[in-house]
Amino acid sequence: MATGQLFSRTTQALFYNYKQLPIQRMLDFDFLCGRELPSVAGIINPGAEGFQKLFFGQEEIAIPVHSTVEAACAAHPTADVFINFASFRSAAASSMAALKQPTVRVVAIIAEGVPESDTKQLIAYARANNKVVIGPATVGGIQAGAFKIGDTAGTIDNIVACKLYRPGSVGFVSKSGGMSNELYNTIARVTDGIYEGIAIGGDVFPGSTLSDHVLRFNNIPQVKMIVVLGELGGRDEYSLVEALKQGKVNKPVVAWVSGTCARLFKSEVQFGHAGAKSGGEMESAQAKNQALKNAGAAVPTSYEAFETAIKETFEKLVEEGKISSVKEFTPPQIPEDLNIAIKSGKVRAPTHIISTISDDRGEEPCYAGVPMSSIVEQGYGVGDVISLLWFKRSLPRYCTHFIEICIMLCADHGPCVSGAHNTIVTARAGKDLVSSLVSGLLTIGPRFGGAIDDAARYFKDAYDRGLTPYEFVESMKKKGIRVPGIGHRIKRGDNRDKRVELLQQFAHTHFPSVKYMEYAVQVETYTLSKANNLVLNVDGAIGSLFLDLLAGSGMFSKQEIDEIVGIGYLNGLFVLARSIGLIGHTFDQKRLKQPLYRHPWEDVLYTK
């Protein structure tokens, strides 16, 4: 490793595994620093391609998305930093792929829990090929005023408070990512700020070590002093001790190794970081602090005194005239994101959609306020769910049972009706389930299956106006409208539709009142006197009985009933029911591997 600066104001990165927030934070940092070029050149999202929209200041920019590391490197040959947000499972493989690209110089690995043997492979490859690995298990690093990795340094407020938008004179390296942010703050309080800060990560074997970065900082002219925060466990600090002893570092070093508390624990303890394991005197914080102190670093007596030690070292450098004053400037304002501004109560925005029947935001989804667990535990049926989602109330069981009977009766009516026929033809044309289903559904309308609503509307209107069956039927005839719900192609007065009989029986047994149905039967008696096929059909039975259900249950106002009939709820029943059959026909044709349907010539009358 060694050599000097890793990043500059023109450094661009490739970002592996799309994560909106850290990328946006990088771009916000760029804008704050007055960078002209966004620091993220491309995104790699395995299996995806295209663009991601992100903000660069007030403007939106589109960052290209590539599906492989190789493609991204080929498309962005000047992007030499690879920021890897892959999971611990896949971080090693993608990092190795990146290291093998000639254009990539630095790989930062965020994931915690990368196997040690995998990291060792990366270390070996990076050493042999003169590349730098930062991490794993790190937040990354930052070069003030130039380039920032992912989530490093947290919020914009913090970046501004720590003056990270312009370079200072301090090189900082730590194991802990969380503590690095704390130290940026501390260092900004008592010095002119950070020049570069790196968190190497808490693993046993970090890709690059504390001393790797200290030696690098030593070669960067703008870095005037170096601050190191180590941790108990491992021997990394000793390579720094060696470097100090050998005189390889000629800038002042202020260091503290945390974990002095380990001696309070009787048995071996694993602290928060994988590498922070108590045990072994050499690896203790006390021993490392002592060794660093003996090697010439400024080591305070406790973390509390760390800030003072940094301050004193910096002030000494100022006295010696080694610090040139920093050119201050006011960074531009980053426009606030709408969702953050809303969260903090600063702005409000109107919603674009309103919904009243269900809510999926809580622990479990609710239908009209009834949680899914109640629906399952209390044995609700499909009819109950329909009553919740369509009528927004729990109807009595006889009503929901009636709904279920309607659905069962209307689920299918053989392959020859127009809906099923269309579905069969579509399925045989090799189309998918949804296409086959909707091609059948699209036939539902005024001539096919759409009569329930009309039947209900006309029966209700006639009954409510007190028309006799004679007046009703004759007035319809005058208007040239066939009475909906009356008439059947096959059934006759002496051969009633079994389905109608079943519905009527159920209603007689369970409904408190069947006045609309009785009216429909009176109408039928009159129409039968005109022709033997003018029977009450299933549409008429459902339509009239649904009116009885709505009126008799006592759970709907008159206005609500009018609305239900007006909107066309009852056709909904037919569409829902028949979908069951149409799906069945689709599967049936596919199972039978039926070929493309072609209507025979002989069955067409060709004429002029």
Binding site: R89, I123, G177, M179, G272
Partner: protein, 423 residues
């Protein structure tokens, strides 16, 4: 997380099974494990050699120097082994300053031998080091100058040339056998993600290497690759570390979430308790209380990080508060809710969980005369801190709240002043 010691029984099980897979050759290793739940009759049925061979029994508790401590019994039959175990199972012993009960034993055939070899492999940053000696056994430390060590860089192969310095001086009749043994064990070490492996000693049985004692450590972050090969591996806690019910509750929470939740009681009667965000910061808070001279008053070590959700924080905070308030003795105590400046954790969201727990435990906190000290920064910290301040007024418990403008560990000093002030 990271390097975990495994029991001798498991080390030998992995060695036997995978030595065969990798080399096609059998090692004549036999071993049986005994815990509180073991039925000796069933065990004897499963491992018939137990009934016929003379046996060795010793605790399998991740501590060494068992022979020197008189915890190894040699040349027994199965009944005698059962008697030996009965007399010691569940009994507390002290090893190297750690006290704990013996819960697990390992039984093996008694193998009279005159050769004792030493083999040790350790994973290091740039490769692995392999140490070998002809003078192994309990006197290894006295014979340390006879131990030969080679370093095998990552990706380098352990060829005969590389291995030569270890085995060069061995008699010809065993040299080849030992060289091959070391090569296969090294391959196995890498294949199974061992980070440490030691046989001290191993000897020869029927011309084949046989480990008499073995220690191993696995990298548990590699579990996702190895769960089949490791099959049912147990990662016991370090000897002497017995989890209290509260600690194991938090341990259970920790295992269920992608976040990190750690909790260790140091002194149940301590008067300074901590609940700190972040792996790095939590250590520093504990350090600071110690560095300021009040280690003896420190009740616990506690860390939460990796953006736990509100519910997880709530459950976690309840445990910490319960322990912190479990001994209301009339003296003041302090709860330090600390943390550095977060990079991306939403401070207000995690504080919501803590605040709910504090509200629930209002009367306990008051009974324990608890003073609360808060310091935190990061995304949304202003809202989080404001809620904490409001909480103090609402429930009438003294809460001091600081943001990034204050030093991180300043509240440790305040906590100490609080508990030492005249009550």
């Amino acid at each position: 997380m990271a390097r975990k010691k495994i029991r001798e029984y498991d080390s030998k099980r992995l060695l036997k099974e995978h030595f065969k897979r990798l080399s096609g050759r059998d090692l004549p290793i036999k071993s049986a494990q005994v815990t509180e739940s073991t039925d000796f009759n069933e065990l004897a049925e499963k491992e018939p050699w137990l009934a016929s061979a003379k046996l060795v029994v010793k605790p399998d508790m991740l501590f060494g120097k068992r022979g020197k401590s008189g915890l190894v019994a040699l040349n027994l039959d199965l009944d005698q082994v059962a008697e030996f175990i009965q007399g010691r199972l569940g009994k507390e012993v002290e090893m190297g300053g750690c006290k704990g009960p013996i819960t697990t034993f390992i039984i093996e055939p008694f193998i009279p031998h005159d050769q004792e070899f030493y083999l040790n492999i350790v994973s290091e940053r740039l490769g692995c080091s392999i140490s070998f000696s002809e003078c192994g056994g309990i006197e290894i430390e006295e014979n340390w100058d006879k131990v030969k060590t080679i370093f095998v860089p990552t990706n380098a192969r352990l060829t005969s040339d590389v291995c030569a310095p270890l085995v060069a001086t061995l008699p010809l009749e065993i040299k080849g056998e030992i060289e091959e043994f070391i090569q296969v064990v090294f391959a196995l070490f890498q294949d199974l993600d061992f980070t440490f492996l030691e046989m001290n000693p191993f000897t020869f049985v029927d011309g084949k290497p046989y480990p008499l004692d073995m220690r191993g450590e696995l990298d548990d972050t590699a579990a996702f690759k190895n769960f089949k090969k490791w099959s049912n591996i147990e990662f016991p806690m370090p000897f002497g570390r017995v989890m209290s019910p509260t600690e194991s509750f938090v341990h259970g929470l920790d295992e269920k979430t992608s976040a990190s939740l750690k909790f260790t009681v140091l002194n149940p009667k301590g008067r300074i308790w901590t609940m700190v965000a972040g792996g790095g910061a939590s250590v520093i808070y504990a350090d600071t209380v110690g560095d300021l001279g009040y280690a003896s008053e420190l009740g616990n070590y506690a860390e939460y990080s990796g953006a736990p959700n509100e519910e997880e924080v709530l459950q976690y905070a309840r445990v910490v508060i319960d322990c912190a308030t479990s001994d209301p003795d009339g003296h003041k105590r302090a709860l330090v809710i600390g943390g550095g400046i977060a990079n991306f954790t939403d401070v207000a969201a995690t504080f919501n969980g803590i605040i709910r727990a504090l509200k629930e435990k209002e009367s306990k906190l008051k009974a324990a005369r608890m003073c609360i000290y808060v310091r935190r920064g990061g995304p949304n910290y202003q809202r989080g801190l404001a809620k904490m301040r409001a909480l103090g007024e609402e429930i009438g418990i003294p809460i001091e709240v600081y943001g990034p403008e204050a030093t991180m560990t300043g509240i440790c000093k305040q906590a100490i002043e609080c508990i030492t002030a005249a009550a």
